[in-house]
């Protein structure tokens, strides 16, 4: 198995409201095609860890390697380009752009990447929406969709550039049982069939248990068992 992500001695300190070390010397590596769930109690630092891995948060000590390339210390522009191409995000709150239709929301990251022309991007976006069972809502304004529908559009958006890594913060947090199962199945398929890697943060024990690997965190450290 090829290693896709490796972190070495990550430390993160919050300075507000007072100095507090959220992450303490965390090191691990993740292989290509793995489905990893980071679990732990509220405040254990699992979300913080996810945002460090996603390259959005750059204030930390330690090193992050993705595809054997040191990401730590890259410029904001390089990181933006890297995220656009290689990382798909699914957030706890769905975060769609409210003035755009579901289809446009899915298309935007691909338009930014500019790998395909607009026509192809539209077809691919439609394909992703179909995969999420959202094709009938493609032309609807995203602000008019229900929470569950928005979440599925957000997942379609995360997949549009076929990123090597998909980061998900409570991806099923706002979904009912049926949709949770649906999302889980899609994630499973992405890892096994497409060889994409998923790193999710979740409270959902079923979700975690059924994923390929659990990283359990306690007080800013990985609990080894």
């Amino acid at each position: 198995m090829k290693e896709i992500l490796r972190i070495e001695k990550l430390n993160k300190i919050f300075h507000e409201p007072e100095d507090f070390q959220v992450l303490k010397d965390i090191s691990f590596s993740i292989n290509k095609g793995e489905f990893v769930t980071i679990t732990g109690k509220s405040g254990c630092g699992k979300s913080t860890l996810l945002y460090l891995l996603s390259t959005l948060d750059t204030e930390y000590d330690g090193k992050i390697f993705i595809n054997d390339t040191l990401i730590t210390g890259s410029s904001q522009n390089e990181l933006a380009r890297f995220r656009n191409k290689s990382i798909g995000f699914v957030f706890q709150f769905h975060f769609l752009l409210p003035e755009f239709t579901a289809l446009q929301n899915v298309m935007i990251p691909a338009l930014r990447l500019g790998k395909y022309n607009e026509k192809e991007i539209k077809d691919r976006a439609y394909e992703k929406l179909k995969q999420m069972g959202m094709e009938t809502f493609a032309e609807k304004l995203s602000s008019k969709l229900s929470g569950g529908q928005q979440q599925r559009v957000a997942i379609a958006r995360a997949l549009i550039n076929e990123p090597a890594l998909i980061m998900a913060d409570e991806p099923t947090g706002n979904l009912d049982t049926a949709n949770t199962q649906n999302v889980f199945d899609i994630f499973k398929e992405l890892t096994s069939v497409n060889g994409q890697t998923i790193i999710a943060v979740s409270h959902d024990e079923d979700f975690a248990r059924n994923s390929g690997r659990i990283i359990h965190m306690v007080d800013g450290q990985i609990e080894t068992n």
């Binding site: 959005l56 995220r83 975060f95 003035e99 935007i108």
Partner: protein
């Protein structure tokens, strides 16, 4: 710029049409007023300048009477070092003429930059018409030269300028003056000088230049008539008026002539210093008001952009997470304010033109300024381009600060909730 950035900024603008329109109208109004004010003010300036030039020679050479008598002849008589005090020294006699006028005129006529030289004899007179006595001026001129100087031939209300040359006692009178005296062509009128001499003239024409102080005061007669009236010889000339081929040279040439001929030599701008200063004040006023309007419009855009960005924090965070760099965010928001600016400036240009056109049809009440029928407006492309340029610069500046703020949003803080 990525087309997708433009697409996003377009969607943002269209999704809040009302706000966009209000911001745009701010710029539109600012630009329209800028154009209207500058076209009107410059029109007034040009109108006044033209009127002035109809009455003021490019350069005026005359004998400036000095009132400095600190050098007294008394000192020559009392040389022994005794104290000499002379109270209230007064000149015994002054002749305000130019002594070597003939030479100066010949010399000026040889000068290739000079278009017209018109010698004058000016003096104050009283116009007597029965019991009516009005203070005024009389100018002894070669009327053909004077006509070339001020184009007076076109300003004649009655009669022709040539009439003055065919009669010995002809006088061409300002229309306002003629009205006051209740005289018309063919009437006789008696003139008296402050020295007590008097002469009778026959009115052979009336003119109206459009400046009250001239139309109500001045008359033209032949040079010889004034020389006779004053009891002077044929070389007696008090003023030389000059028209240059290029009026822009007036100031430097005036200085040259003053040095060369040793008589006071004044260019038209100096002669009309008080009116020229109102030009400057009008210009300052125009620019201050116009720029204020644009700055207010700029603040409007700044406000709306700041509000937009505050309400779009989540969107900015999500765009950044998806790989939009800081410069993309700046492009998205700055292009919005520039689109507002460009559309506002273009519509402001159209409205400014329309308002100027309307104003140019507003009639001006008939007063001494008879030559002005409508409000003076000038249409010049450079004012329109200038207004658009300033409008776009203003919106750019107003958009830059909120856009930079937007680009600095930390997505982690927003996304974590």
């Amino acid at each position: 710029m990525f087309p997708v950035n433009f697409e996003i900024s377009k969607t943002h603008l269209l999704s809040r049409k009302k706000q966009t329109l209000v911001a745009m109208l701010g710029v539109t109004f600012g630009i329209a007023m800028f154009i209207l004010m500058i076209s009107f003010m410059q029109g007034v300036n040009r109108f006044l300048e033209n009127t002035l030039l109809q009455a003021t020679p490019d350069i005026h050479i005359y004998n400036d009477i000095k009132t400095d008598y600190s050098q007294s002849i008394a000192g020559d008589y009392y040389k022994n070092g005794e104290l000499t005090i002379v109270r209230h020294p007064k000149p015994k006699q002054i002749t305000p003429n130019i002594k070597n006028a003939e030479q100066i005129i010949t010399d000026l006529q040889k000068n290739t930059d000079v278009a017209v030289v018109s010698p004058h004899i000016s003096t104050q007179v009283f116009y007597n018409y029965g019991p009516v006595q009005i203070n005024g001026l009389i100018d002894g001129v070669d009327i053909m030269q004077e006509a070339r100087l001020f184009g007076i031939a076109n300003k004649m209300v009655t009669g022709k300028i040539e009439n003055i040359r065919t009669t010995n006692d002809g006088i061409i009178m300002g229309q306002g003056l003629a009205d006051k005296l209740n005289v018309k062509m063919g009437d006789m009128i008696s003139l008296a000088t402050p020295m007590g001499t008097s002469m009778r003239f026959r009115i052979v024409g009336t003119f109206q230049i459009g400046i009250g102080t001239i139309d109500n005061l001045k008359s033209y007669v032949n040079t010889v008539s004034v020389q006779q009236l004053l009891g002077k010889d044929r070389n007696y000339i008090t003023d030389i008026n000059i028209k240059l081929k290029d009026i822009k040279n007036a100031k430097p040439f005036a200085a040259v002539f003053q040095k060369k001929y040793n008589y006071k030599s004044e260019d038209w701008e100096t002669s009309n210093a008080s009116i020229m200063s109102t030009f400057i004040i009008r210009n300052i006023l125009t620019y201050v008001v116009s720029i204020t309007l644009l700055v207010v419009a700029g603040f409007g855009i700044y406000n709306i952009m700041s509000m937009t960005i505050n309400s779009k924090m989540k969107d900015i965070a999500i765009l950044k997470a998806q790989g939009f760099a800081s410069k993309d965010i700046i492009q998205i928001f700055l292009s919005q304010s520039l689109i507002i600016g460009i559309l506002g400036a273009l519509s402001g240009m159209a409205i400014g033109f329309g308002l100027s056109l309307l104003l140019s049809y507003v009639p001006f009440p008939k007063t001494d300024f008879a030559s002005m029928k409508y409000l003076p407006i000038i249409f010049e492309l450079k004012y329109y381009l200038g207004a658009v340029f300033f409008g776009i610069i203003t919106t750019f500046i107003a958009g830059v600060m909120p856009s930079i703020k937007a680009s600095k949003v930390d997505p982690v803080v927003i996304l974590r909730g």
